[in-house]
Point group: C2
Chain length 429, copies 2
């Protein structure tokens, strides 16, 4: 068994759980920071570990263009390429193909698109998307889907949903036929999982079965212990493979969402994502469709809501029973000087902060809030210093991860995720 | 006594020593990374501490324009503004006024120049430069000088040197009259020295005499101990002031350099810098002038060679008896993908590294070389990822600081600084 999901506490639809992946456990509900090009922009992997990031999201479309799937595969997969020993999820590339390419051509077979970098022509299909994601070697990969645009009429939403279902079947079939080709099951497993120095990894290019015992032999006991204490050795068994998630579409139509859920479940996946939301619709509608979809998803499998949201929203969706979320918001907003705090949003570029000696967020214990003043952060942003991006991103990620830690704690105490928002506001000075 | 220099070992002209500053000791020979706008571009202060940076250089010209001297002064000085508890040196602004301003007007009184940011007109003089540097509150500040351009004929070099000498006298006089206005002797001292969280600092805006006992009362013993273990409490005595260094000019003329040295020493400073080098002249000439100048500097005071150099050069100058150096090279080169290693320079942008799983420098133990491959660093650079700048700068700084640690160790063993270069090449695999 390569992948498991265990529910650890539940109250109503809300629950906490644990994803067991070939690269370590992930406590849910979890927020997954986005590392588009094998990097969370500006943040080193050391710091991501320190912040408590359990699982990263990589974008297949971007990695396919740079540095290329074959390059990553030859270097042992994405974990080893970026020296990230914990879990990774990759998207299928479908969303970027649709959102970044206005000249795309969609057919039953797949999508022809042009690179946003150099205009070169490429083709993605369910089979190609699986091949790419197997080459990258994330722990969780996604079926190739069509993200239905908003607004879309019922007929368009249905035909798009039907295509996504056919592509889901093809994704599943290709995955089953090729899942043992994931780079970390055929070579380099120990080194990637251990996050070992590249200098040592270089001497270990011989293929290995990659199980724990094999790693132990090569590394010796003391390295193993040290690796364990850093949470860097978690490959559970030889022959571990990736997990494949299906994606529910159906636009903003509750009946189509129900049908999409049921037919996707009938194909059979390790988990289920809700796609096609946060594409321009009002937030009340997002919430309505999430609720209407969740009720048709199997309780015992992970539920992943793609591409959301604000701190308040991720608490709200966790409360509805969502287990996994990802969003560029904390990292992208940070680059624009928009910071999330326990007292609300702050636009650090404003002149009012130029002389403010106080911390960004008096209730935050991150490296930024315990060391730097708003005046300094404002100066860095106003001066276009790269450290502004580094520190702003560190804080926003810390705020999101703290929020989810609070949510998990609150759910485990039986108070529900929503309790936290009240807790937090009561902590105001 | 606010500032002392102790020589700890010497062999020929080469020596190791210790600068005792109000913000901690600095082992020499030392390389000072450049933090132009109160930030070493892309690197957090936590990481600078971890890398072993003992003293940072700040640029008065840039800080004068952004965020402005008065802003920094009101916030307790540069140490507290940027939350850097260790030593800082500021330049006088003269070099930038001359190098960034083609429309400047130089008179006996000072220099009128236009901001490189918005074209606004400003005026710097010895008095203004002292006022600015006292407001910033660095531990070591520099007399206002004219950096003689290269090439310059003898007459021009002499008249420029004479002006620098008159400005040195005026700098010295203004400093003596105003040195007790440094922000950390009149307020906030403990908090800046302790690098305390801004949230706590905010509650301590009342003026204090700032001596160790006062800090202790406010912080309690446990915080003090913790601060000590982090090396963050080093303000030696109440009423501590800054140290002022003079600058020797004289172009590429050995006789003028001798005269400049002798007359600058006659004015009397805490240390002596060699300015006007590394301005376009051949390296052999730089070395010749450094040697010709050093022999006229007092052995018991620190010698600072401004604006050099490559790793080989800083070893060479340490060997000649230079105690302090600064240069933008390691940080600026990093941003252009040029990396210094024990095996020579590497341009990480080259396609040959795209599939290279080895470490950047197999003999380096920095966070970058022990975790990431050349292939990953090349990918980050080629993809214009901000993490490229962060990791490249981390490595280059680490390489420079390691080089200087090796130099100090080698000198202390009586082997001279130059020994290290041979040691290092013998470590090649």
């Amino acid at each position: 068994m390569s992948f498991q999901f265990k529910i650890e506490s539940a109250s109503g639809s809300t629950r906490t759980g644990r994803l067991l992946t070939p690269h370590g456990d992930v406590e849910t509900p979890v927020f997954m920071p986005v590392g588009t090009l094998a990097s969370v922009k500006g943040i080193s992997q050391d710091l991501l570990e320190e912040l408590g990031v359990q699982i990263l999201l990589g974008n297949t479309y971007h990695l396919y263009l740079r540095p290329g799937i074959e390059q990553v595969r030859k270097l042992g997969g994405l974990h080893r390429f970026m020296s990230w020993p914990r879990a990774i999820l990759t998207d299928s590339g479908g969303f970027q193909v649709f959102s970044l390419n206005h000249l795309r051509k969609v057919s039953e077979e797949g999508v022809t698109f042009r690179s946003h970098l150099d205009g070169s022509e490429h083709f993605f299909s369910p089979e190609r998307a699986m091949e790419a994601q197997i080459g990258l070697g994330a722990d969780i990969i996604m079926a190739f889907d069509e993200c239905t645009e908003y607004p879309a009429d019922r007929e368009r939403a249905r035909s798009s949903m039907e295509m996504t279902l056919r592509w889901a079947e093809r994704s599943r079939k290709h995955f089953e036929d090729h899942k043992h080709e994931v780079p970390w099951t055929t070579s380099h497993v120990g080194t990637a999982a251990l996050g070992c120095p590249a200098s040592e990894a270089r001497e270990q290019v011989k293929p290995s079965s990659g199980d724990r015992e094999d790693v132990s032999e090569r590394w010796g006991t003391s390295e193993l212990r040290s690796a364990d204490s850093r949470g860097r050795l978690s490959l559970r068994d030889s022959g571990a493979t990736q997990a494949l998630f299906g994606i529910v579409q159906g636009g903003m139509d509750r009946a189509l969402r129900k049908e999409s859920a049921e037919r996707t479940i009938a194909i059979g996946f390790d988990g289920y994502a809700i796609g096609g939301l946060s594409v321009g619709e009002p937030r009340s509608l997002t919430r309505e469709i999430v609720e209407a979809t969740i009720e048709h998803l199997p309780a015992g499998q992970p539920r992943y809501l793609m591409g959301v949201g604000t701190p308040d929203e991720i608490v709200e969706y966790a409360n509805l029973g969502i287990d996994m979320m990802d969003c560029v918001l904390p990292t992208r907003a940070a680059r624009h000087g928009l910071l999330f705090t326990s007292e609300g949003k702050i636009s650090i570029k404003q002149a009012r902060y130029a002389g403010d000696p106080g911390p960004l967020d008096p209730n935050c214990n991150c490296r930024v809030c315990t060391r730097y003043s708003r005046a300094y952060l404002r100066h860095l942003y106003a001066s276009n210093e790269v450290l502004a991006q580094v520190l702003n991103t560190t804080h926003n990620l810390s705020f999101y991860l703290d929020t989810m830690r609070g949510v998990r704690h609150s759910i485990a105490l039986g108070k529900g995720a929503r309790f936290l928002a009240g807790e937090r506001s009561r902590r105001k000075p």
